[in-house]
């Protein structure tokens, strides 16, 4: 049964969810196994619509929970299909148990995570708590800051995950509502061009290859468990970044849109830098430009790849700065934020003299305003002028009540 092609304009007005759904259509996913959860529901809804309208040859598996959704994806992927799904927040949390199965079994599933706060209290709005929850699960994690990037990074995700040297599942993150429900102009690829970038799915060790039977997800106990995990860690640390870089380069050749493992804005001569992820990168860029108008050498570093953590790229981007703010959009619950910790770890044994401070912001959808960032840049500049960190290591931006700060 042949499927229909869709005529797209060069620029379509899509929100992040629809952009991701269109990418799944153009990659011709064989199986989507999904359970709806705000704000990611429209991604799989979009896929289901395309399937019903004969734009895709595939299967939509309706399940009773996100745990079953990812389990269905794991089965379909092990059987030899190109597989993707989407989730957010509590649904993501329910999936976590199976995320480790997917990465340990080296199945190239793509998961669109529309980032949202974790309860309690219940909250459907965006922060990075779910993104942080997945960071030890052995998945590759990419972060999109806009609908355009949510569209583009899905193609990158399939390309990297399905590479036979990698074979690791990949998450594409976008900010709940800020990206997922904000419609913007998205530059598109036509169906053939898009499909040619990811190519036909070439399964490896698939269960439906009866000539070469294999057992998936075996029990190993202390005999070999460590060796399997060591191999997975090694591949994440050494093999994934070069593949991502190649995929970014090829994508740029195809579309002219350039992505970097670490995105640097105004960093050539920056004295002070904000390191953040998601939609706040764009706000920080605006403010950095304004600060430069006032003679402050401000820059922004955005993480495009969260796992594997880009240690060398981060060291390179921050080697000449004098003060750094790590902006974490997750409730740290008893420690500095992940970004602060990772940056401290990445920079500790380098020659940098940069002063590092951590900020927690935007929990549960709270806005990060330009005023907040202007104040933050001023604090960083004050640190540079004094030659030491004047502020506590950890502060909370924009929380009501007396100032909250620790360490």
């Amino acid at each position: 049964m042949a499927f229909d092609k869709m005529e797209l304009r060069d620029i379509e007005v899509w929100d992040g969810n629809f952009a991701a759904a269109q990418a799944l259509r153009q990659c011709q996913i064989d199986v989507v196994s999904a359970y709806p959860i705000t704000p990611s529901t429209p991604i799989v809804e979009g896929y289901a619509k395309f399937l019903a309208d004969n734009y895709i040859e595939g299967e939509f598996v309706m399940v009773e929970s996100e745990h079953a959704a990812m389990s269905g994806c794991i089965g379909a992927s092990a059987a030899g299909g190109r597989v993707a799904t989407a989730t957010s927040s509590q649904g993501f949390a329910l999936m976590v148990e199976t995320l480790y199965q997917a990465s340990g079994m080296r199945l190239p599933i793509v998961l669109n995570v529309v980032n949202r706060a974790l309860a309690a209290p219940l909250n459907v709005n965006g922060d990075h708590s779910d993104m942080y929850l997945g960071r030890d699960s052995g998945w590759i994690q990419l972060d999109a800051y806009s609908p355009q990037e949510a569209y583009d990074l899905n193609f990158i995700a399939f390309r990297v995950a399905e590479d036979h040297d990698v074979r690791l599942p990949c998450m594409v993150h976008q900010d709940g509502f800020m990206t997922s429900h904000t419609a913007q102009g998205v530059k598109t690829m036509d169906d053939d061009t898009a499909y040619s970038f990811v190519g036909d799915f070439k399964p490896m060790n698939d269960m439906l290859d009866f000539e070469h039977p294999v057992t998936h997800g075996v029990q190993t106990e202390e005999d070999w468990h460590f060796e399997h995990k060591a191999r997975q860690h090694n591949d994440l640390m050494t093999k994934v970044m070069p593949k991502i870089q190649t995929a970014f380069d090829d994508f740029e050749k195809l579309t002219g849109r350039k992505y970097n493992i670490v995105e640097k804005y105004d960093m050539e001569d920056a004295d002070i830098a904000v390191v953040c992820m998601g939609t706040s990168v764009e706000t920080a860029r605006e403010v950095a430009k304004e600060m430069r108008g006032k003679g402050v050498k401000a820059g922004v570093v955005g993480l495009r790849v969260i796992r594997p953590f880009p240690f060398f790229e981060v060291q390179e981007a921050l080697k000449d700065v004098k003060a750094i703010a790590a902006l974490d959009r997750s409730s740290p619950n008893g420690a500095p934020g992940m970004l602060f910790n990772e940056l401290a770890g990445a920079l500790y044994n380098t020659d940098t003299k940069a002063l590092l401070s951590g900020y927690v912001y935007g929990l549960g959808g709270r806005d990060l305003t330009k005023k907040h960032l202007t104040d933050l840049y001023s604090e960083l500049q004050a640190n540079v002028d004094a030659g030491k960190v004047l502020t506590p290591l950890q502060q909370f931006i924009g929380v009501r009540g007396p100032k909250l700060q620790f360490l």
Binding site: M105, R106, L107, P213, V214, H216, V218
Partner: protein
Amino acid sequence: MANTGWDEFEIGAMLRTFEGEAGDIAGTLQEDRNYTENSSFRASVADWRIEKPVFNKDFCIDCQFCWVYCPDISIISRDKKMIGIDMDHCKGCGICVEVCPTNPKSLLMFPEKADEETEIANWPAKETKEK
């Protein structure tokens, strides 16, 4: 297998069962099968077995139930005759004993260290049905 390094494993918590083509595995005798080093046959999956099934051929009617039900193809059967149990591969789950229909059962579970000859000599007698 015991000294295989992390970089020598098949990727992906996965065991390959047979070397090369596996087209007529069902028609190939167990001992002739071309198991790989990384197969559940060669791997020491039964390390934790604490009980083992003992086979007493005096009562066996060769019904093949045990062969059909054993989840690990550990029952050895030739020409539709039950011969015994492949103890390298049996994990000690006891399913074969459950399904054995004879009276007394032709398969019973005993502690891993039990001596088979002794147990067979002391095999339980036929149970009489209470009316």
